[in-house]
Amino acid sequence: MRLTGYFIILIGLAGIHLSCTNRESAVEKATKNKILLFGNQTEPQDLDPHIVTGVPEFQIIESLLEGLTILDPQNLSPLPATASSWEISDNGLVYTFNIRKNAKWSNGDPVKASDFVFSFQRILSPALGSEYAYMLYCIKNAREFNKSQIDDFSEVGVKAVGDSILQIELCKPVPYFLSLIAHHSWYPVHPPTILRFGSIDTRGSKWTRPENFVGNGPFILDSWDINKIIIVKKSGTYYDNESVSLNGINFYPIENNLTEERSFRTGQLHITSSCPLNKIRWYRSNQPQNLRVDPYLGTYYYLVNVNNKPLDNKNVRKALALAIDREALTEHVLEGGQLPAASFTPPNVAGYTYGNALSFDTTEARKLLEEAGYDKNNPFPPVSLLYNTHESHHTIAQAIQQMWKIYLGIDITLINQEWKVYLETTQNHKYDLARMGWISDYNDPNSFLDLWITDGGNNRTGWSNLTYDSLVHAASLISDKEERFRLFSEAERILLDELPVLPIYFYTNVYLIHSSVMGWTPNILNNHNYKFIDLE
């Protein structure tokens, strides 16, 4: 028994020793040194703006590099950044940017217009295999170059006139072009650094390592420990250094959202990337000032495979849509402040709002089902709902399964597949209904409506409607806002009448933020340039 006695005394001692080391929380210390502690969800694939696609990568790159324009956190309108000013030709096809004189790279080199030409050529070069190259297809001949139909980059509508003038010629007018180029696919890279570690289109080169990275953003890359931490420090060469109040940012790749929330609660993080569903209710009642529920430019919907019986019948699709109690879902199940989706595009996308097309009407839904010929003696054939393995999809699918069972009396089976298997199944149209979500990259209805044009890359429903295609195509050619929005709403009316997709709710970005963080204004693109952030 002596042994266990020693054991207990040992633990007691360790406990006392640890508890008496009282220290101010990490957040208080960091706030004093103006270092932002940022929960960044996962380990970034890479820090090369032309290769990465995810949000965690973008959050870091945004501090290291800066494009021609940045977005105003309040209204997401484009602000001058590396380009101090610009002129647009009358036909809206040619944009001329004046590069800021005092814009410098972190190694002191001045930022030249040719750097941008080099960068656009890099992301468009086929060998790099960039998944976001299509963002630049609005430039003349960019698509052809990227599909290696032409291989001389000089034919692409990008020209550097001297060191400080950059001219971009588009193949069609793009009203939202100035906010489009704030996307990281348009970011410049430092040509000498790229060429030091390989050719212009070498993928996965070592240039993004802390010791090699050269950027033109407000911060420089200080250290990168895999799955542990990424530290950026304030850059000395940034042209607008005075207005940058942060001294540095620590990015923590904490994958488990429960761990992230706990770290926040013990003062180890200023901001988290998300908030676990079940904690929202607690924060809403106990610490409302730390909880943020910002609208987010994205829609959660179910894909419908219009070729499979019985879903090929429009009435059936409509019945299914009307039998979903979206209020109950968002209020009781999700509790994340999400808005029930009565249309496909979220409200107020750059001023465009479609209005409510879908309501919760079970009698109408049952009537439609009967019209489609399904009732007691002709039972509804088996239909499956596919979703990928994730906590909230799991809950939502079961709730909707139950709603369709009670309100329409139909039984659907739920199939839960691992992420990549799920993607493969949807791409090969081997499903009846499938969960899908779309978060827009830029603030324009086009990003939502051009998804469903006939054999569009992301149109996995097999649905095709020529009038819809022509309307969306026409809207993309016109620069006048009212006319474009009229065409878009006409197209969305067709979409919501045919219902190849069943919109469920509009995303919200729910996260936790410490009261000492200033200037983190909410916006639907979740875009927060670190220049405007401060710590009290």
Binding site: F7, P126, I226, N227, E255, K420
Partner: protein
Amino acid sequence: MGKFILKRIFLETLPSLLVIITVTFFLIRLAPGGPFSSEKQISAEVLEQLNSHYGMDKPLFAQYFSYLLNICKGDFGPSFKYPGRTVTELISESFPVSLELGLYALIFAILTGILAGVVAALKPGSFMDYFTMSVSMAGICIPAFVLGPLLVLVFSLKFGWVNVSGWNTFSDRILPSITLGMMYVAYIARLTRGGMLETMVQDFIYTARSKGLSETAVIFKHALRGALLPVISFMGPAAAGMISGSFVVETIFSIPGLGRFFVTAAFNRDYTMILGTVIFYAIIIIIFNTLVDIIQTILNPRLRNY
């Protein structure tokens, strides 16, 4: 002994590794969805470029042999998910963390497990027996993904003794190693107790007592050696499992270990990473199993005569 180890390495380990690599290489190709399939549809040209960059466009057998060749050169290929990093780099940077965590957990599990097993075996059927056994069995029925957060709730959030997550100071090591080790405590305690009960009734225990040895000497010098045989053969794979990291513990405490890659590599269809981690784990398993066999022959001389 040396001959035994050399024989084990050349005659047995290399063929096993070859079999593992071959089976895994072709098996992962069966899993649907490739490393590049993502939510946003990729254009055919881009996909084609990516495949050629990673040599995926060559016929499967050609890829297989070039992969084998590269391994002999020590190059395990670039990771698909983290283009800027090679597999060797990812493993070599995250393995030391898992090794350290695994060792702490191993020590914790062995000490607590054997102590609990011995204490329980001393007075079978007494309160002490059931108390130690139920506490050690808690490790089995409270899985890591419950025990971890529970410990955090008590020791970090309530008492504030240690951080919730991270891997910097020594105090960050305590909770994760207890969580990782706790499950094995149950196995070790139960097996030790079983072994002790069987050995304590042997004749040589009476001889030892008749020699005037103190009870603790009888237990730890004589009884324990025989009792630990089943435990040791269990410890081989268990230790290998702990050392190579655990996905659950590392995600709960956000520890930059290797365990995480075993599962995420599979989810990302990061072929080179899967192969890298499988080979790495195979080597660890074979090392530990060899170690266990050696320890068993040391402990049990009767096994030595083959």
